[in-house]
């Protein structure tokens, strides 16, 4: 067992449990009342996901690493399927399938 991995997993897992369970038990209305704490917490999700989208797509669009077409096609597929279905899971799978398809076509 990789102990660094286990330590990170335990810390992240414990935080996940606390983030999901404790506010449910406490039922704090402060978190849904529109105050500064709610604004800060509400912004952490979009900020984190936006950051991670950029960080994960950067290596794919870096010049010389691979053709850009599968990335563009996969991204458009995510946008289109989400617009139609409003489903995160369906849009994710569609993006992966279209990206793979374009890589296959490019041969």
């Amino acid at each position: 067992m990789n102990w660094e991995l286990l330590a990170v997993a335990l810390m992240a897992g414990a935080a996940n449990w606390a983030f999901r369970v404790l506010p449910t038990l406490a039922r704090s209305d402060r978190l849904t009342s529109g105050g500064w704490l709610e604004r800060f917490l509400a912004a952490t999700g979009p900020a984190a996901i936006s950051t991670l989208f950029v960080a994960s797509i950067q290596p794919l669009v870096a010049p010389g690493i691979g053709p850009l077409l599968p990335v563009v096609a996969g991204t458009l597929a995510v946008l289109a399927v989400f617009a139609v279905s409003r489903s995160v899971v369906a849009a994710t799978l569609a993006g992966a399938v279209v990206h793979g398809l374009f890589v296959w076509l490019a041969g």
Binding site: P23, L25, A47, S50, A55, Q58, F82, A96
Partner: protein
């Protein structure tokens, strides 16, 4: 969560679309983990303990790039801070009399999709039940663990002869982040998203990828404090 079936079974049925979607993502996580040099047991442990898709992929990237343990843990924790509003939002929709006696167990299953599905059921007029929450959560968690285990056992080399499938699975992570971003996109959060993305690009180009991630999250969250 219908009145005609026992609540647990109704919750389990409601989890089916989530479970079907989770399976291939978890499978690709299992493959990615073994490809990154982790064992099948380690891959399964990440899914069992963290149970948050995007964080788990990120954990692989951070740990294999040699990021320090505390930086990695802080990044994953910051990323999931948004989950703190799920419980109160759900209980607010469930009503004051809703029981949360066993929330210490079922609320661990409040992922983005489970939360969305539960809130959607309540919005459609169905009654809140802890048994249904167990069913909903268990279906999704079970699928996540099974997908990870099968992907990890299949191993990183399983897709060597299938470059297109491998590329598609490799695109699963940016696709997941983009879809999650779209699902939470509001006019109010647009400046947060743009500032976070810009800070990430600048931080990555000027310092390093790990610094870019930290700076992006921090800049975006602080932008959220500005009253609009």
């Amino acid at each position: 969560m219908t009145a005609t079936r026992p609540p647990f079974l109704a919750g389990l049925t409601a989890s089916l679309p989530i479970a079907l979607g989770y399976f291939p993502i978890a499978f690709s996580f299992g493959v990615a983990a073994t490809r990154a040099g982790f064992s099948a047991v380690e891959a399964f442990a990440l899914s069992l303990i963290i149970y948050a898709g995007a964080s788990q992929f990120l954990a692989l990237a951070l740990l294999t790039s040699g990021a320090p343990v505390l930086v990695s843990a802080f990044t994953l924790i910051a990323m999931n801070l948004r989950h703190v509003i799920y419980g109160p939002a759900l209980m607010k929709a469930a009503g004051k009399e809703a029981s949360r006696r066993y929330a210490w167990v079922w609320a661990f299953g409040l992922t983005d999709e489970v939360f969305g599905q539960a809130l959607g059921s309540l919005a459609r007029g169905q009654r809140f039940s802890e048994a249904a929450m167990f069913g909903l959560g268990l279906g999704a968690y079970g699928s996540w663990l099974t997908g990870t285990a099968i992907g990890a056992v299949a191993g990183g080399g399983a897709l060597d002869g299938w470059p297109a499938v491998s590329a598609g699975l490799g695109f699963m992570l940016p696709a997941l982040f983009l879809a999650l971003l779209l699902s939470i996109l509001t006019r109010r959060q647009l400046p947060v998203i743009v500032i976070a993305a810009s800070a990430t690009v600048l931080g990555t180009l000027a310092i390093s990828a790990t610094s870019g991630i930290l700076l992006g999250m921090l800049a975006g969250a602080l932008a959220g404090l500005v009253k609009r």
